[in-house]
């Protein structure tokens, strides 16, 4: 049994079937990629996992616990963390603060009234935040206002925010979209490194096949709200169904 199980999930938007009986089984410690053409329902699926959307039917279980009915912050607190496609950061705060906020969330839970604790005297939190910033290479920018960062740096910051929480399951929505080739390669090696050292299970949505095949242990292909194939990368490469989906064969 996997760390995350999605069974029979459906989601309709009006008449549109965004998710059509989706089943997924993510094994612990692996990198699982979800690929598919635009509008296949990949992001919608990710949204149902973090309570951004509620599925119409079906079950979602994380480590034996149902995620349905939990609030977004509760899902995060049990170890499921999402990195968004368009960078979602705290733009008015410094880069360091952006990383300290999730670090505190991990350490002190969803709410803590501690108006007399001092941020600058909490060396444990400081060290942890600094460590994560070093990992993603944003240490020199730690005092910048994060809204002024380049898009690529914002994405790295968001990754740092996720890593600061040391999640059990990390959901990445196109982690390299909009990055240069060099940044993409850096991100791949960073993601590989954290898979190996920290053993975080990852679900990656990606268009870039170079990224997919260099990272993923397993791949699910979606088209029109449906998962059409599961398999190892080498099985997916030659699968005629996948080629149909990408070449528009599904419409025939």
């Amino acid at each position: 049994m996997g760390i995350l199980e999605v069974k029979g999930v459906n989601k309709n938007f009006g008449g549109l079937k965004a998710l059509d009986d989706v089943n997924l089984d993510i094994e612990e410690g692996t990198v699982h990629a979800i690929i598919g053409p635009n509008g296949a329902g990949k992001s919608t699926l990710l949204n149902t996992l973090i309570a951004k959307l509620v599925p119409d039917t079906g079950t979602i279980t994380f480590q034996g616990q149902s995620l349905l009915g939990l609030k977004a912050h509760e899902i995060n607190q049990i170890g499921v963390c999402r990195v968004f496609q368009t960078p979602e950061i705290f733009p008015d705060l410094s880069v360091l603060d952006n990383v300290m906020i999730p670090t505190y969330a991990k350490q002190q839970g969803a709410f803590k009234l501690n108006p007399f604790a001092a941020v600058n005297k909490d060396s444990e939190i400081q060290d942890r935040a600094h460590g994560v910033l070093k990992d993603v290479g944003l240490m020199e920018r730690k005092d910048f206002e994060s809204g002024s960062l380049s898009r690529g740096d914002k994405r790295r910051l968001e990754l740092a925010m996720a890593l600061a929480q040391d999640p059990k399951l990390l959901l990445l929505d196109e982690p390299t979209a909009g990055m240069s080739r060099a940044d993409t390669n850096n991100t791949i090696s960073l993601l590989k490194e954290i898979s190996e050292t920290r053993g975080i299970t990852k679900v990656v949505i990606e268009h870039d096949m170079h990224v997919v095949f260099s990272l993923a242990h397993k791949i699910s292909v979606m088209a029109q709200g449906h998962v059409i194939v599961h398999g190892k990368p080498e099985e997916i490469k030659g699968n005629p169904k996948v080629q149909d989906a990408y070449l528009g064969g599904a419409h025939l």
């Binding site: 977004a72 709410f111 501690n114």
Partner: protein, 401 residues
């Protein structure tokens, strides 16, 4: 100061110095000079400076940090005032129980209102708070008259029980006091044409404002304060970071409500009379202006904003045509009369025009308020000497060759 870094300690010490020497600073003109009208160093006004300073500091914790714009905080100030007067009627005219009760009552009141209003954000939150405050105002005027004394306002009377005090045969209502020291006690210092007034009530309020300011600095520098800033910056993101923004915003709302209650309690401590007009929406709007004018989200901005607004309200509103012609009397007569004609639109009843013009200028040119203005002057002054150094260094180098 314990728990404060060097910069905050400096700021705190400056505020202490300003408060301690306020009777001198606010009375720069000799008593018999024409400019004595601009003196603000009399007890009543000085008390108002620090009491509204407390109100504005508390409001800043909600508005400055979380960005939630409440238009109903005067309701908590009013509730605090009523609670304070009732304590003085029922228990004792010592101000300590009154102040404690006003903070607690305002805290509970803001908990109830905040719980409901914080279900919405942005303009809807503002409208909800405004609606609740206006409801409180209307209730205080009508249905709740037995508690609030309606239009006449709640005040002390000889027949009050005052169960913690002994028999009172004097036939007068005892004065509000702090462990026996009357709030209005003090002394005047007459020196070379200047008269400086030192008032106990003012210094008590100033000491409480310092405590309130200290707590606000600590909140700003705490992880709790960081979360409140996160609410302002991107509340949606907090949910996906494992944080629940609701209790954070509610805590900020209640803390600022308690500050408002404290201000209301101090108002009746120095002048034991509470009226419903204290809850009117213009009073809520005033504290918003104080924050924006001084610099919302900065530590010292709300205090400066409160000071400026109260100064204009009390000094400019009292100037009249005669004062203006005296002020411009050194000019040729045609110019004097022209200036007086223009200027008198901005004084007396027209002081709100001055305030409005100033507010617009600040919002357009200094969005960070007075504090931003200060910072700009600071960087400008710092840059100047460097430039001078450059130019003086160049000739020196040529001279050396």
């Amino acid at each position: 100061m314990p728990g404060l870094n060097r910069r905050d300690t400096t700021l705190f010490l400056i505020v202490i110095a300003l408060l301690v020497f306020a009777p001198f600073i606010l009375n720069p003109f000799p008593e018999d000079s024409g400019l004595a009208r601009f003196n603000a160093g009399y007890p009543d006004l000085m008390q108002r400076f620090v009491i509204f300073g407390i109100f504005a500091i508390g409001f800043n914790i909600l508005f400055g940090l979380t960005g939630y714009l409440s238009f109903g905080h005067a309701a908590f100030l009013g509730a605090g005032s009523y609670a304070g007067v009732w304590m003085m009627k029922l228990l004792t005219v010592d101000v300590v129980p009154a102040i404690i009760a006003s903070v607690i009552v305002a805290g509970l009141f803001s908990l109830a209102i905040g719980y409901i209003c914080l279900r919405r954000t942005g303009i809807y939150f503002s409208i909800l708070t405004l609606a609740f405050a206006q409801m409180s105002f209307a209730l205080a005027y009508s249905v709740l008259t037995p508690i609030t004394a309606g239009e006449t306002g709640l005040q002390l009377s000889l027949a009050d029980p005052r169960i913690l005090e002994g028999m009172n045969d004097s036939g007068t209502i005892p004065a509000t006091n702090f462990f026996g020291i009357p709030m209005r006690s003090g002394f005047e210092w007459d020196i070379g044409g200047w008269v400086f007034t030192f008032n106990f009530g003012y210094y008590l309020c100033a000491a409480i404002m310092l405590a309130a300011f200290y707590i606000s600095i600590r909140i700003f520098r705490s992880p709790f304060g960081m979360m409140l800033r996160a609410v302002k910056s991107n509340q949606q993101r907090m949910n996906y970071t494992g944080l629940n923004p609701r209790p954070y915003t509610l805590a900020a709302f209640v803390i600022s409500g308690m500050y408002a209650g404290l201000a209301g309690g101090l108002m009746v401590a120095v002048d034991p009379l509470a009226g419903a007009e204290r809850m009117f929406w213009t009073a809520s709007g005033e504290v918003v202006l104080m924050n924006i004018l001084g610099g919302a989200g900065t530590l010292v901005g709300p205090i400066l904003g409160a000071g400026v607004i109260k100064y204009f309200e009390n000094i400019f509103s009292r100037l009249n045509e005669a004062d203006l012609s005296q002020l411009f009397s050194f000019l040729p007569e045609w110019l004097e009369s022209a200036l007086v004609t223009i200027a008198q639109m901005f004084v007396g009843d027209g002081w709100l025009l001055t305030l409005g013009a100033m507010f617009m200028a600040v919002v357009i040119f200094l969005p960070g308020g007075i504090v931003e203005g200060g910072q700009r002057i600071h960087t400008w002054l710092r840059r100047k000497p460097e430039k001078k150094d450059d130019t003086s260094a160049a000739p020196a180098a040529t001279a050396g060759e």
